[in-house]
Symmetry: C2
Subunit: 127 residues, 2 copies
């Protein structure tokens, strides 16, 4: 029993329910399926969006620091790479990941993903 039907469109038929918080789409065969969900899903998505905004801001801050490290190393003739450092970072992050119930393999993959970007930054600066 739709509260407000928006009827047929150029694409598939759809209708809006519960003051726009829920949308149903008509599938081939005439069945109506729920597309956008309820308040619970909306709440989860708001939390994900908040966390993603925080992640982006922290990554921006992290790259500011690695750029400063690059400048500092160049100014003082320090070697660009320090293999022992990377190993220590990975070991530490794996430990922190376990404590936070995050897959340690993923934390290592994540750090390598970030470090690859740092290397790309440094290469771009050298060009």
């Amino acid at each position: 029993v739709p509260a407000r039907s928006t009827g047929a469109r150029a694409g598939p038929q759809w209708l809006s329910l519960a003051g726009g918080r829920e949308t149903r789409q008509r599938w081939p065969g005439g069945e109506w399926r729920r597309l956008v969900a309820d308040d619970v899903l909306t709440g989860y998505r708001q939390s994900i969006d908040n966390i993603d905004a925080a992640l982006v801001c922290m990554l921006a801050e992290r790259f500011k620091i690695t750029q400063a490290v690059g400048r500092h190393k160049a100014q003082h003739g320090l070697p660009a790479a320090d293999e022992g450092r990377e190993e220590r970072q990975i070991a530490r992050l794996r430990m922190l990941a376990e404590q936070a119930d995050l897959d340690p393999e993923f934390s290592e993959k994540f750090l390598r993903f970030i470090i690859d970007e740092v290397i790309r930054h440094h290469e771009r600066l050298r060009e």
Copy 2:
């Protein structure tokens, strides 16, 4: 003029200076090179380590939420994928990245990296 020489070891020769805040390593040819740097670099690295710990904790929290989303969608018969949602997330993160002086391309690559892991989680749950 070393303050304290630790002399030869099984590996390459090295020496400690300035109360352990600086280490030099002997390279082939006899040249001494600075390995671990000064207080400035140590400070930068502490900031990077703090940010990485925060990133790992936030990622752990994000995966907790996406797992709850997966359970919720399964319970209520909602479709697993929502393409419009991903496009909106990417557009929003690119905007936030620009405001934070982070490469928008990287923010998009980062979100796809995370979403790929979410998909792997959901596939593992289904098996």
